[in-house]
Amino acid sequence: MQPQGILRIAFSVLGVGLLVCAAAPAWGGSPEHQERHFIVKDHPFVVLQNIVNGRIEVKSWKNSEVVVSSTSAPGQVGIDIEQVGDRIEINANSLEPGSEPNEVEVNFQLTVPEKTELQLRTQTGLIYVEQVNGDMKLQSVAGDVHLKEVSGYIIVKTTGGTLICTQCAGKLEFTTISGNAQILQPTLTSLNAMTTTGNILYDGDFMHTGMYSMNSGRGLVEVRFSGNDSFDLKAQTLLGHVDNQAAAFLKPDTHGGHHTVSKFSKGLFGTVGQGLAKVELSSYSGTIRILKRD
């Protein structure tokens, strides 16, 4: 073979090698995947304290079994799982000596029975839960929380992460400092959402006898209701303003009582329909917007 041909082949091999190296995961090797199965009975309770970073994804199935799958860089993370009856506790620890626990990342995928209680905690990763019916407490520092078709008593706490809750039912409590909240097509009977600088959007119906409270320090609080809704509204803001785009649907409050607004704030009170639910909106310096969905 000609020297030029050898050189060409050598460069091609090197080039391919470089491409392969570039395509390889940043973990420096193929990721480590673990999967464990746990048989459970009626009301499983899954606790996941992910002290390292990473995504937690939870979906449901019909089986009486909890499957815990994890993906991480090889040899970096130790996963401890303990089962006592229907309670399953999962902890992730860094195996590398001297490394900071929060520098390591592991992603979890949990498959659980529909009626499972969850307690999940992570630092920066996304928490995603879909079609699980059970009480849940979800915490994240900077990561977002996405919920889809879940129901139960749902508590979500983030420092800066955003909550997106689609078609959720039950009771929801959300507190955050700078995160936002989007509550879309819910069937919640109770909502308590509070953010200091984030925005809150509620786009859905209000259940009869439900109680809904949305507070933002500086952000926007926006409610979009439908023609079938029935609620008493109390909206007040100190330094912001109330953007009432539903004046045609708001009647004077029919459920007794004169609402007193402090002389320092601007308020809007009224009733839509028969006023069967109770909606309280508040913003310190942001805007409160009410409008009817088309």
Binding site: E100, P101, A142, T159, I177, S178, L238, S265
Partner: protein
Amino acid sequence: MVSRVFQGGAADAFPNGVGSMQCKELEAVLEQEGLTPLPPAARAHLAECMSCQGFFADLTTIQSLAQELPAEADPPERLWVSLRAQLAAEGVIKEEAKLTPDTPWWQSITVWLRPRTLATAAAGIVLLVTGVFLSQKPATKTYLAVIPNRPAPSPVSNSVAPPVVVPPVRNSTVTPRPSPTEEAMANGGLILNQAELSVPNMQLAGNSTVDASLRDNLRTVNEFIAECQQHLKQHPEDELAREYLESAYQQKAELLAAMMDSGGSEH
């Protein structure tokens, strides 16, 4: 309320003897067997007696509504703190110490004096203090929410006068005493500030993203607290602003506790 025991209604209503069960008997069945499943005689009576139909429907409505009520509720954290303290005082439990049996005695003291533990305890105290003043009903609102720059009282005359409770007059040169809630809130704020002093030197989470997020949010909360305080200085009667300030303090307390708990170690 006058109560009457129903007697013979069904017989009057059905002179032909249709419906062998009477209302009283149906009630006895409901009492002993519950609402479902109903025996055939009870169902037959319900089909014919409007009064019992209404009664049965109402009980069913009550049962259905009750099933929607929450069966569980989250106890507040302070319950566990208090329980733990009580159990420890009684000697039922011993406080968990993260020490091995071989740990020398002087090291065990060092563990307790470790700054992070103290900081966590301080944050816990902050949360308890916050819980205390949040549970108090506010009194007359004519004073500043924040105390630190309280002006000195005006000089009194040489003749010794007993302390006078001055009514809340804004332009008075004598600064009236703040209400217990305001004092508690101010004290809570001071404790929070002290807890925050240990934060700058901490490597919070060993992760720059989380660290930055926590610090940014602390800055956000502090700015908001300052804004509320400024507003309350000018409008001390503003209840809504006070509520926001209380919430902001609570958020700050929780944030500081999270920061100190998330693996903080001092450089």
